[in-house]
Amino acid sequence: MSARDAILDGIRRNRPAGDFPLPEVPLFAPLVGEDLVAEFGERLKRMGGRVAEPGAADVFAGVRERLDAAKVIASAVPELTGNRDLRSVRAPQEVEDVDVAVVRAVFGIAETGSVLFTQDQLIVNAVAYLAQHLVVLLDPADIVPNVQAAYRRPEFGRSAYAVLHTGPSATADIEGVLIHGAQGVRSLTAVLLPRDAAERG
């Protein structure tokens, strides 16, 4: 018998007796207040992330310092031209030297301060971890109130890869000292920028 059949067979033989129906999962009332943008920002900050308001003249004013200090910028958004073209990357290892990656989030979650990316936004999935810093464009209109609502979104069922990022990479494995930049990015900054800002000029 194949391992597969042996395992399934064992499970059928040992199936616990009883009727255990699958419960309905309610949406639950949001834990957060009405102002989803403010709530999102506050929660993201608590998770070590940053929020930058877009500048009037220069939407990236809030992260200019970081961008100016960067040698390699990989942009996956039309609002900013970087100097590393993600579409021409053939192997993920090639983005190893990226200092700042700029990516648009599909949506944000107010309850946790998370943002969602799929392979379509990241272009090269690994850039979201190998880059030293991550700048995330998020349309304030794209914030859902809670995790439960997020998991009703279609992206999870149709993306080869989907990931919720909540602030920068972190660890406290040594004596509980919190450290950002464990393996992934050292910082995450969300710029609250509507999707059509570039077109509106």
Binding site: R15, L31, K45, Q93, E96, Q132, Y161, A172
Partner: protein, 523 residues
Amino acid sequence: MSVEDLNPREREGVIHPEVRAGHDESERAPDGRRLQHAEAASKPIRAPQTREPQPRGAKIRGDRPINQSEAAERFLAAPLHQAAHDERLWDLRKKRDASAHGIPEWEELRELASQIKTHTLSHLDRYLEQFEAAAKANGVHVHWAKDGADHNRIVLDILRSHGAKTLVKSKSMLTEECGFRHHMAANGIEVIETDLGERIQQLDNEEPSHVVAPAVHKTRMDVAEVFAKTLGTDPDNDDAHYLAESQRETTRPYILKADAGMTGCNFAIAETGTVVTCTNEGNADLSGNVPPLQIHSIGIEKIIPKVEHLGVFIRLLSRSALGSPITQYTSHFRGPRAGTEMHMVLVDNGRSERLGMEEFWTSLKCIRCGACMNTCPVYRRSGGLSYGATYSGPIGLIIDPTFNKRKYSTLPFSSTMNGSCTNVCPVKINIHEQIFAWRKVLVEEHQIPALKQGMMKAAGAVLSRPAAYRAAIGAADSALKVLPRFAVYNPLNTWGKKREMPDAPRQTFHAWYKQNRMKDTGR
């Protein structure tokens, strides 16, 4: 090597100054607030500068019963380690409470999580088939492994057929169960752990001591010593930022050149064939997204039916584990990247058998949050390695004997039966009742030495004194911090031994224990 040598980018101003500010404590928000996400302690646990050698875990002698109390005694005899460990985990427990109290529907979520798991486990064959079909439709190669050896053989085959020699992996308790790393080493495959805690343990040739924080039993001085020996760091520099940065810089080249990447699995979704991993470091995400070959090891009990059920578990997992609302990264791997291969290995390793154990099958609901360990006075005082098993703490006491009844026969006695584990478990496993049930089984089957049979009577005595037992449970929140009051109820009295026991009945018990303990020593 100095900190500055590690990364020239910092000097060029690419690394933001706050990342390497001259402090050695936890990160703060720009407004100065101390941040408390990830595994961070709310106050720094700064061990005094005296060096105290790290106490090592239980001595393993084949199948002979683990002597947990002996290892616990050695841990207790190292006051720095003992205090730091206890304090750190208690801190996590408190943060878990604060987090849980912040959600009005907390109890409802626990109930839902429990019901979803119970339902899935009682229809596991169906959901596994559904998962397999969905994964295959996504272009994933699906494998089935009866046990650890099977798992290791399958992975080795995959690696060999790709000519892969190096593998980076993220923390996975399942692969610990399988002895994966040792097997790969014996077969010429280099395996590098990417989680900081797990990497510390790998470099120190130790098993993880906690399911969430593998190196929680080590002080920063221990880590400095291990890294100085293995990574060439400055032995006199025990700054946690310096040490973590050293690991980052030395692990990254492995990640970049690895032929294969492996992750464990927190949740597997039958509906979509998705594997979900939850980490704070981003290491599972790197392991899954960088190397050209990607492998996910999945315990068959990790299945949940639908994406919408994730909402329940994701909301519970990190809050129960660390008190944060979510882990920094929640990755959903569903299909291979263009031009690469993705493999999933579904591993049984005793799980289907456990499903048939009437009293113990609901332990399969466990989502490995570690909350039961963090709250357990015995665990906090004795360290995870004292259990001498892959799984330690309260859930370990239930799972371990299912792997080896003789070797782990004494573990179900390493509990004060205070019920705190049951109270915090996000999937509502009746942990302490199952521990008690194991005691009965082990006594009936004579799997335990004579001394422990005496302990049975002791446990029975405590449980048959409803007032004492209720007091233990009822006062859990405040009194758990002060272990010895409870430890005296524990027949393996190591934890309470060094404290005075003024109360008359307890004294009697203590006397009884000492007497029996002496017999044990003579055995």
